[in-house]
């Protein structure tokens, strides 16, 4: 009951672009690189008798072979479906009996395996964690079962106009780059994946020197070390191959993709190639996007399309900045008949960002939010674990908590104008519209 009770409650504001400083005297975590190459981050918190572990392994879809799309996801997915000594049900029953959770999540840059347990169950939790990472069985029966389930979810996704739009957008922007492929693969690519592929992928990438382990909660450094000695002793370093990926390119003119569905609304995405996480303009881009469409009701897109014109409920924009260049996208849904107007307004706001400086108030409000909301990004064990994992993966340094404020404070109006000219493209965008094309009568 407790977990489901809020499912059908309506949230007023959907603000996916909102992300969030202040100075902390104590270091947020201790960092150590172990002998086997694994990076360990530890943040002891004694307020609650719970422990959260996030293991990030550089085994995401960016390292899977081109014709085996879905391999990284399937491999991660199969980890808790059986080991050399435990069945799928034995694993789920063991962790669920103590009210804990053990889950895997796919990703393009890295996959994660997460454990949450009460302190009293930490030994059992680490035992399971190491078993599923080090000794997965990859049995043929479980592989078939997961392939069927994934194919079913691929079919079900065709019911969701947002997912249809997002897949078409990714493919158009990224071409052959893995960021443009569906992480779960396709029905055809899944058929090409064999047990040997999965075992080889696991053998090749699930290595301690590819891994960041973040541990947050009621566990001391000594306790943690004894867990690692007991359960992760035999995890040995090995070289792993790096693939060289084709760089995605910007289009030279707008590309419009129209997908006919009998829907009440047109689901719209406008965007293009974006930036890498290590781009020095990342902070100027962050402030710029907050003003454009990342800042909820403080953003221009929301103000124009929702507040002034009543054309949409959810209006947002974001840059996904990862290891390789990600995308910029502005997204909204509006009744088919309003699609032209809403698209025109979104493009107008992108162009205004490129041609006119933002106001002093917009700049100071954006900085004030981005720096002032930093404490909210790290106010629970779960959030601290996710934050530390990203800080380590993208090499931001444990002093990022303090540096972030400096980086944001340094951004000027000129920086924003320059960043907008460089990273927003109103003449070479990809526009995806999923909806009723007759009613929408698109002019694009």
């Amino acid at each position: 009951m407790i977990k489901k009770i809020h499912v059908f409650i309506l949230l007023f504001l959907c603000s996916p672009g909102l992300f969030i400083t202040s100075s902390y005297a104590a270091p947020i975590a201790e960092r150590e690189v172990l002998d086997n190459g694994m990076t360990l981050l530890h943040s002891g918190k004694t307020g609650l008798p719970i422990v959260t572990v996030v293991i990030a392994i550089k085994a995401g879809s960016v390292v899977e072979p081109e014709d085996k799309s879905g391999l990284a996801n399937l491999t991660a997915d199969l980890l808790n479906e059986g080991t050399k000594t435990r069945s799928s049900k034995e694993i789920s029953d063991a962790i669920e009996f103590v009210g804990g959770s053990l889950s895997t999540a796919r990703g393009a840059d890295y996959i994660t395996v997460s454990l949450s347990v009460l302190k009293k169950d930490i030994g059992m939790g680490f035992d399971l964690l190491s078993d599923i990472i080090l000794n997965p069985a990859f049995s043929d029966a479980e592989i078939q079962r997961r392939k069927t389930a994934i194919k079913n979810s691929i079919i079900q996704q065709k019911e969701d106009p947002g997912v249809i739009a997002s897949k078409a957008f990714g493919e158009a922007v990224f071409g052959k780059h893995p960021y443009g492929k569906p992480a779960e693969g396709t029905e055809e690519s899944l058929d090409r994946i064999t047990r040997e592929d999965i075992a080889a992928f696991h053998q090749g990438y699930y290595l301690p020197n590819n891994t960041i382990m973040t541990v947050v909660g009621d566990i001391s450094k000594g306790e943690l070390k004894s867990m690692l000695n007991r359960y992760f002793m035999n995890w040995q370093r090995r070289d792993s191959k790096e693939l060289s990926l084709p760089a995605s390119a910007l289009k030279d003119k707008p590309k419009v993709i129209k997908i006919q569905k009998n829907l009440a609304q047109a689901n719209i995405i406008i965007g293009h190639l974006g930036i890498k996480r290590d781009n020095p303009d990342y902070y100027a881009v962050s402030v710029m996007n907050y003003i454009l469409g990342g800042g909820g009701f403080a953003s221009r897109l929301m103000d124009n399309i929702r507040d002034n014109k009543g054309l949409a409920y959810d209006v947002h924009s974001y840059f996904s900045a990862n290891k390789y260049a990600g995308s910029f996208q502005a997204g909204f849904q509006t009744k088919n008949e309003s699609a032209n107007t809403a698209i025109a307004e979104a493009l107008k706001e992108m162009e205004r960002m490129r041609t006119e400086p933002v106001s002093d108030k917009e700049l100071s409000d954006a900085k004030s939010y981005l720096t002032g909301s930093f404490p909210l990004r790290i106010d629970s064990n779960r959030k601290i674990a996710a934050f530390l994992t990203a800080v380590e993966y993208y090499g931001l340094g444990l002093d990022y908590v303090d540096n972030y404020r400096k980086f944001i404070e340094a951004v000027t109006k000129d920086d924003i104008l320059r960043a907008a000219k460089k990273y927003l493209h109103t003449g070479s965008y990809v526009l995806v519209v999923v909806g009723d094309m007759e009613k929408a009568a698109l002019k694009y």
Partner: protein, 433 residues
Amino acid sequence: MLFILLFLLFHTHAYALDVSEYTLKNGLKVLILEDHKAPTATFQIWYRVGSRDENTGKTGLSHLLEHMMFKGTKKHGPKTFSQAIQRAGGTDNAFTSKEYTGYFELLASDRIGLPIELEADRMRNLILTKEAVLSERDVVMEERRLHYEDDPQRLVYEGVVAMAFMNHPYRWPVIGWMSDLKGLEPDDLINHYQTWYAPNNAVIIVVGDVKKEEILSKITDAFGDIPAAPAIKTVKTEEAQQRGERRFFVKKEAELPFIVSAYKAPDIRHEDGFALDVLGSILSDGKSSRLYQSLVYEQQIALSAWAGYEGLYKDPFLFLTGATAAFGKNIEDVEKAINAEIEKFKKAPPSEREVQKAKNQIEASFIMGQDSIYMQAKMIGSFEMIGGWRLWEKYLEGIRKVSPEDVRRVTEKYLVSDTRTTGILIPLKDGNK
């Protein structure tokens, strides 16, 4: 010996909620829970009004008013509320349910004075212009298109609830019917606001790195002079006894068949609520649960299958089950498989271990929920709205006492076809135009 000692310690500490409760002279209730793990806090104000308090032809009023609450007052002009909170590094939002309408802010705890001042202002001083109401009505219609009209599974759920309740206002959706939204007028909103938005119909909940005496004094300064409103007379419609199964179909463009069944069930204040919650957990919590193991893992006839007791309501609500059929599988077979799993409980109680697992999951989720100040406030509010936040403690105690035989008994008593309402999605192929 060590185990027993730990167990006892665990028991005494797990359910003690250190909430301080105050009531101002104007009837405004204030609940404060100090939590000093991080320098942040949440301020929330919950009004005891939701879609259950609406009338035919005017559904969706509570939710539309929730949207309008961000449109400005005499003192703080239009578009300023969220901007002011965000400038302070905070986030804000709101939610509407069948029972309540809530507003919240999350921010660094040294800035908590700001939402206190802003929320006190908008409790009585909202400006509702015709132009703003009409524009926001359009926004809500877009919200309805997004979350219902173009989401076939949501349409089935909406229909099941509407059909399960023939009398009680639980029948209509929180967002309102599309045709009602088109007809809502500024005066409807003004009446709704003036009737329900008053200190004696609201509860403030603060969780985070605060000192309760300081917060209480700030709240008293900001809200203390707002006069109480006249007591509200509500008409109580009770749902009549359901005497036979109700079934209906939704035919719509979709890929996979889907089913939802709703059984009439008592609310959590009824002693059977605890066993129903444990039943829901055994059926549905996690991959080791019975529905996942049977329908998804063993038989592979469903992509997903779930169940859940919905007891956090003031009046009796529902126990729900549902599933999405796997590609090429019949929804009839899926329905039979779910019903077969339910029948098993009637023949033999679940094992001691399964019941213990459900209790452990509910207990662990209570402890893990304390990782988030927002979730703690949300839980306190959800229980407060239906009869007092202490129900949360009673709930946790009640769960602990559930026996396998209790689970068998409540299955036999409530999960019967005569009080079931079933909705089925029949996918149509997308017609090209």
